[in-house]
Symmetry: C2
DNA sequence: GTTGGCACTCGGTTGAGCAGAGTGCCAAGG
DNA sequence: CCTTGGCACTCTGCTCAACCGAGTGCCAAC
C-alpha cells in the first residue's frame, strides 16, 4: 500500500520534527533530505500519508506532524535501536559500578537514565515475586515480639514485626530459623508457600501458634505485590517541553507521583526486548501525550523488574531505546555481581 | 518607626496578594479591609513601606507586592501559626495511623503534607545519627561473608556486606553478636564508637581481624551521614504557579532532585519550632523565588529528622506553618508508638 | 496627619495590516 | 500513471498604533 518512498518521507518527517520541534513542510523536507523528488511530489505523498492517518497538520497550511500512528510505524518499521558508543558504554559501567548497595544502584540508574535520555527516568526495584530467598532471619526484640527479616538474592531487605501469642523460647526460635532457611534459601518466592506448608507439624504443640504466625507474616510479605517500589528522576527535563505543552506537564507530574500508575505502566512492558508505548496507547489519560520506553532487567536471563523513561511522543526513539536497553543490561550485570 | 497602621497595611497587602496573586492597589485595599482611612492615606503608608523595602511595585503605577523582607516581617510579627481544626487533626491522625512500616509512614506523610498545603512536600527519614540502636544482627551468608543488619529505634533498617579475611566460626559469630548487642542496644549512635573501642580484645587472636572488620563496617554505617534519605512529593503543585514564574519551575525541580541540596536546606532549620526561609534567604540559587517551611520531628522531645514544604514566596504562611507543625507532631507520635 | 482631586504613567488588550510558509489543485511533460 | 512547476489561497504570527483602566504621586485644603 505504502510505497517505499512514502515510508521514506514519513521517516524524514519524524526525524525533522523530532529535531526541530516544528511542523515540517514539503520544501524544507526536500532541502534537508535528498529524496530525489520535488516538493510537489512530496506534497502528494504527504496527502496520502495524512489520508492514512500517519501525519496531520495542526492548521490548514502549516507543516505536518506525525500522529501516534505515524510514530508507531516509525518505531516498528523505519528505525532500529541506536547502539551506544563504546565510550558511553564504559561510562555507564563505571558509573553503576560505583554503587555500594541496592538503593544506590537504583538511585544511580535513575540519574544515569535521566541524563542519558534527557527525560524522566523510572526504575522499579527488583520485584520480590521473581526473586529467590537468600536468607530469612528472626530476631527476638521482646519476649513476645519478633522481627522477621527477609533478604533476597537481589539484595533487597524486607522487615516485618511479628507479635506472638505467647512467649517465644530461644531454642524454638533457633530451630524455626534453621528450618526456615534450610527449606527456602535459594528458592523462588513463588515456591515458598508449598515448601513451608507442613512446617508447623515439625514443632511442639506449644510453639505452633508462634510458628503459624511467623509463617503467615512471611507469606504475606512475599505475596505483597503492592509493596513494589520504584524511584523516579529527571522530572526537571519535563520543563524542556514546557512551550510545547504548557498545561500538559501537570497531569504528567501527577501521574508520575502515582506509583500505582507507573507500576502498571511498567508492568505492561514485555519481559524481553524494548517496549514502546506511544501517546494514546498509554491507558492513563495524563500520559496521552507522552511515550513510554521500557524494558525488563535482571541478574540472569529473566527480568526481575522493569525500567524506562517517560518523554514526549516527539522523542528520539532510536537513541532512547538504545540508552534504555544499554542501561538495563548493565544494571543486570551489576546486580548479578553483587 | 513603623506605626501600627502601617503594619496593618502591610499585613493587608500580604494577605490580599497571597489570595489574589495580583499586585494590590490602595483602592482595593481600603475596599476589602476596613482600615478606616482613605486610599490616599494608604498610598502614603505604601510609599513609606516601599521606602523601607517591605514592598515594591513591579512597574510604575501598578499595585504593590511584598518583598522578601516584607514577608519576613509578616511572618515574624504580623501573623501567627494557624492551628488545624479538630477535624483536620483527626484526619491526619487516621491517615498516618494506617501506615504499616517506616517507609509507609514517610510516604503517607509526604502525601498528606502535599495535599494539606498544596505545595511540594519534603520529608527526611529519621536520621541515623540521632537514633538509638535497637538491635544488631550478623548473618553468615557464606563461609567468609557476613551480612550486618542494623535496626534502629525508629524502625529503620540498614544492611551491609562484610567480607571477612578468614573463615568465620559459628561460635565466634554468636559471641560477637551477643557482645555487640549487650553493649550497644538502646544506646545512641554517637556513643557507639566509644562503647566498642576495646571489643576486639575480648576475642581470640584468630578472630580479631574479623571482629575489626565488622566493627569498621558498623561504624562506617553509623557515621555515614551522606546516607541520609528523604522523600518528596506534590511536585505537580508546582504547576499551579506556572503562569507566575514559568521558567522558574525548572531550577526548582532541579534543586528538588538534588538530595544534597534538600538535606542542607532542612538541616538549616532549627531543631524546635517552625523555621521559615523566604526567597533569597535560601542559599541555593534555584530556590530564590521560593520559601521553605520546615520543622523537626521526633518520637521523643528531640528531633530525629526534619520535614517541610517548598512553595512560592507568595504562600499562606500561617496555614502552611500550621499544617507543617501539625503533621510533624503526629508523625512523631506514630513513630513513638511503633 | 488625613483627604479629595488631578494629571500622569504604563502595562495589557484590541484590531488592522503585512509577511511568510505551506498547501491543494491543475495542467503539462516524461 | 507518476512527477513537476506554477499559482492562487489560507492560515499563523508579528508589528504597530490606539485605547482603556488601574494605580500612582503630588498638592492644596481640611
Amino acid at each position: 500500500m505504502l510505497s517505499e518512498r512514502r515510508l521514506e518521507v514519513l521517516r524524514a518527517i519524524v526525524q525533522d520534527y523530532v529535531g526541530t520541534e516544528e511542523p515540517v513542510g514539503s520544501k524544507a523536507l526536500t532541502e534537508r533530505h535528498n529524496l530525489g523528488v520535488s516538493p510537489a511530489t512530496v506534497r502528494n505523498d504527504m496527502a496520502a500519508l495524512e489520508e492514512d492517518g500517519f501525519i496531520h497538520q495542526p492548521h490548514t497550511s502549516a507543516g505536518r506532524i506525525p500522529t501516534d500512528k505515524g510514530y508507531r510505524l516509525f518505531v516498528d518499521r523505519l528505525a532500529g535501536v541506536k547502539p551506544m558508543s563504546g565510550a558511553e558504554r564504559r561510562a555507564i559501567h563505571n558509573f553503576l559500578g560505583g554503587a555500594v548497595d541496592l538503593d544506590d544502584v537504583i538511585a544511580r540508574t535513575v540519574r544515569l537514565l535521566a541524563q542519558l535520555t534527557r527525560q524522566v527516568a523510572v526504575v522499579q526495584y527488583p520485584s520480590l515475586t521473581r526473586s529467590t530467598v537468600r536468607h530469612v532471619e528472626l530476631l527476638a526484640l521482646a519476649p513476645a515480639r519478633l522481627m522477621l527479616v527477609l533478604i533476597t538474592d537481589t539484595g533487597r531487605v524486607e522487615q516485618r514485626m511479628v507479635d506472638c501469642p505467647s512467649l517465644v523460647g530461644e531454642v524454638a526460635l533457633a530451630d524455626l530459623r534453621a528450618r526456615l532457611n534450610s527449606r527456602v534459601a535459594g528458592r523462588r518466592f513463588t515456591d515458598v508457600p508449598q515448601l513451608l506448608q507442613d512446617l508447623p507439624e515439625a514443632f511442639e504443640q506449644d510453639d505452633r501458634p508462634m510458628v503459624t504466625m511467623v509463617l503467615a507474616t512471611l507469606l504475606e510479605t512475599l505475596g505483597e505485590e503492592t509493596e513494589e517500589r520504584l524511584m523516579i528522576g529527571g522530572t526537571a527535563n519535563l520543563t524542556r517541553f514546557v512551550h510545547d505543552f504548557p498545561m500538559t506537564i501537570r497531569p504528567v507530574l501527577e501521574a508520575l507521583e502515582e506509583q500505582v500508575v507507573l507500576l502498571k505502566l511498567l508492568g505492561e512492558a514485555k519481559d524481553s526486548g524494548v517496549t514502546v508505548r506511544i501517546g494514546h496507547e498509554n491507558a492513563h489519560e495524563g500520559l496521552n501525550s507522552t511515550s513510554v520506553v521500557s524494558v525488563g532487567y535482571g541478574s540472569g536471563d529473566e527480568a526481575v523488574a522493569k525500567l524506562g523513561v517517560v518523554g514526549p511522543t516527539r522523542m528520539d526513539y532510536p537513541g532512547t531505546m538504545g540508552a534504555v536497553r544499554a542501561v538495563a543490561r548493565y544494571v543486570g550485570q551489576i546486580l548479578a555481581e553483587s
